[in-house]
């Protein structure tokens, strides 16, 4: 019984460790990339399209719509980052129905890594949109007194992102593990289903929060 897939080390050389989290992430990356390649290899631009193409188009356009609804007017710029956040978290959470699978998102390392990426991406997109001065000035709003609070808010929300996702995913895994020891088979299955739902909701929440942060950073002064 271990709390995190980080603890399951497969290979180690010095400080380089290949644990279950990294390997599973690679596997997911491979599956997602190969799947995307297989589907997009023969895309049709007219006439009836394949079901997989239709599915992926729905996914991509829905993500775009969500980004636009949050307030980013050029969703194509942010689609790769936010879309990948959502898809990675969603796929890794959905795969919990597979036996012996441990979601990488149940590892604080992964969620921290994703939160770090968001933490870097927010100023990156903000500066790209408003320029360095414009972005830095957003820390002085509404007054310079708010500067420390803005900085604290920036750090704390990153931490919150990481902990929220980790806590939810880890707790789901833990609850199923505990229930398996004390209850018959049926109840853990229901919990597993609930875990799938929770995973999807967490994927949505994580990516939407990232979008909101980026939108706040890229919002121009007149907004």
């Amino acid at each position: 019984m271990h709390l995190s897939p980080d603890e399951l080390v497969i290979w180690r050389y010095g400080f380089v460790v290949l644990n279950s989290t990294i390997v599973t992430t690679w596997a997911l990356m491979l599956v997602m990339t190969v799947g995307a390649m297989l589907v997009t290899r023969k895309l049709l631009t007219e006439g009836p399209i394949s079901r997989w193409q239709g599915f992926l188009e729905i996914v991509v356009t829905t993500i775009q719509e969500q980004i636009k609804e949050v307030g980013l007017h050029q969703p194509e710029k942010y689609l790769s980052f936010i879309g990948t956040l959502f898809l990675f978290i969603a796929v890794s959470n959905l795969c919990t129905i597979l036996p012996w699978y441990e979601a990488p998102t149940g590892s604080l390392s992964t969620t921290a890594a994703l939160a770090l990426c968001v933490f870097v991406a927010v100023p990156y997109f903000g500066i790209a949109e408003q320029g360095l001065g414009g972005y830095l000035r957003s820390y002085l709003k509404p007054t310079f007194i708010m500067l420390p609070f803005n900085i604290i808010s920036e750090l704390s929300r990153t931490l919150a992102l990481a902990i929220r996702l980790f806590g939810n995913m880890m707790s789901g895994t833990m609850i199923i593990a505990i229930l398996l020891t004390i209850t018959p088979l049926v109840f853990p299955i229901i919990m597993n289903l609930l875990g799938l739902l929770t995973g999807m909701v967490q994927a949505y929440i994580f990516s939407i929060l990232a979008t909101v942060y980026i939108a706040a950073a890229t919002r121009t002064r007149e907004d």
Partner: protein, 286 residues
């Protein structure tokens, strides 16, 4: 703790790689396909719109052509009708003219026929009258027609007076040529002598007389000199007869029967031979 940081960095790198991979293999192709499809749809819509516009234009063209064609057809029909009317009028006029010509021709022919018939009637009547008279006279008085005609002529000559006598007397006097006595028949010597002496006595002139026989002469005996002539004539008889025959012919023509050369001389009591002086246009010599 170092291992924990390594995993975090590795996961961050993994995530960034995944971002690139999905951008390369998922988002770009999918968005590109969507764009292409939307472009295709837009192009098809534009093409359909262009086609609709073209169809509308062609329909308008067709309607315009149709209207022009209708107008042209109506104009042609009107022209044809007018021409047909004109042609009909022309044909009617021509037919009327032809009919008029035919009628005039027929009338001319009828008139000619009537004239010929009346001439024939006159000729035959004269012949018959002379024949009857001759026979009657021979039967009743043992006198020849010729003798009797000569006697009547002589009587009339002698009876001439005044206005009827003087011009003729003057003509007989001034004429250098002999006076001519023309008869429809040969006059016997006795009658010639009687007529000669009657002329000489009546007009008191001594002129030579030349006797001629002219079968066509209608009047029985005719004396002419220097453009003036005196004749005993049965022209009145004949005129009356002609009139009666003409009436008869008229009735026949009315009854739509072909003109008949039937001779039915009807003598009236008023018709009688008259001796009259007839003035003909002086032509120097008669």
């Amino acid at each position: 703790m170092l291992h924990g940081w390594f995993t975090i960095v590795a996961q961050a790198v993994n995530f960034l790689i995944l971002v690139w991979l999905l951008k390369r293999f998922l988002y770009k192709p999918i968005l590109h396909a969507i764009d292409e499809r939307e472009k295709g749809i837009a192009a098809r819509l534009a093409a359909a719109e262009a086609k609709a516009a073209e169809a509308q234009k062609e329909r308008d063209d067709f309607q315009h052509k149709n209207e022009a064609f209708d107008q042209e057809r109506a104009a042609l029909a009107k022209q044809a009708t007018d021409e047909a009317h004109a042609e009909r009028q022309r044909l009617l006029d021509a037919a009327r003219k032809d009919a008029d010509g035919l009628r005039a021709k027929r009338q001319d022919a009828l008139r000619n026929e009537q004239r010929n018939l009346s001439q024939e009637i006159i000729r035959r009547t004269q012949k018959e009258v002379f024949a009857i008279t001759r026979k009657t006279l021979a039967d009743l008085a043992t006198t020849s027609l010729e003798e009797r005609m000569a006697e009547v002529f002589v009587d009339r000559l002698r009876a001439l007076t005044g206005a009827a006598k003087e011009p003729l007397a003057a003509a007989l006097t001034i004429s250098v040529q002999p006076a001519r006595v023309r008869t429809a028949f040969d006059l016997p010597a006795a009658q010639r002598t009687a007529i000669e002496s009657a002329i000489k006595e009546t007009f008191a002139v001594d002129t030579s007389i030349q006797f001629e026989t002219t079968p066509e002469l209608v009047s029985g005996i005719e004396l002419s000199s220097n453009g003036l002539k005196v004749a005993w004539t049965i022209a009145d008889y004949l005129a009356t007869l002609e009139k009666s025959a003409g009436e008869l012919l008229h009735v026949d023509a009315k009854a739509d029967s072909p003109p008949d050369a039937k001779l039915a001389p009807v003598a009236t009591s008023e018709a009688k031979p008259a001796l009259e002086a007839v003035s003909s246009a002086p032509k120097g010599t008669a």
